[in-house]
Symmetry: C2
Subunit: 115 residues, 2 copies
């Protein structure tokens, strides 16, 4: 078994990519039935009138920055701050109304097949 070294450890918040106007998705781990990714947003939002309508369940946590998440049927967006997490069942339509414009917003999202 090969030795382990410090290069095998990364930091989720270090050297954040510059998406030059786009969100950046980075695959962190993956199996047959799940996918873990980091998402870095800098002011992006879901385009007006559009919704995410996903075939997989998604467990998502916001770890830096801030965002407004609108779930279909809710009266208003929920403001997410670091540590806030929730499960978005498949086909639970939702939108990211806003993300912080002055700093990076870092999410971890685990996508997986519904039970």
């Amino acid at each position: 078994m090969s030795n382990f070294n410090a290069a095998d450890i990364s930091n989720l918040f270090a050297n954040l990519p510059d998406g030059q106007g786009a969100e950046v998705f980075t695959r962190l781990a993956e199996g047959g039935a799940f996918r873990l990714e980091r998402i870095v947003s800098t002011g992006q939002a879901t385009p007006p009138g559009e919704w995410y309508d996903q075939t997989d369940d998604e467990w998502v946590i916001l770890l830096a920055g801030a965002a407004g998440l609108l779930i279909e049927g809710a009266a208003a967006p929920h403001t997410l701050t670091p540590g806030d997490f929730l499960l978005l069942p498949a086909h639970k339509r939702h939108r990211v109304e806003w993300t912080a414009a002055d700093r990076e917003t870092v999410w971890l999202a685990l996508h997986f097949k519904p039970a």
Copy 2:
């Protein structure tokens, strides 16, 4: 589809459980081939001479506090600070040498079947 409300959002760092001397494991999401959990440590370490030797792969991130992680074959423990993550392949023996004694250390661990 039922409405969504603020009670469906939790915070990973809020109302941390008091394990009264033991680490606390909380299941956050689970599927046939993976398990996502939060671990809250307060000064615990792997008992002397013991190693974790797991049948699953583990992707793990430290999100609050600090810990010393020793991987078998490494010369010394690696100090993990918030945001540090790594993949521990199945049977990569490792020990938690220490966790911060004066505050909670919060981990997210994704266990999954090796490819």
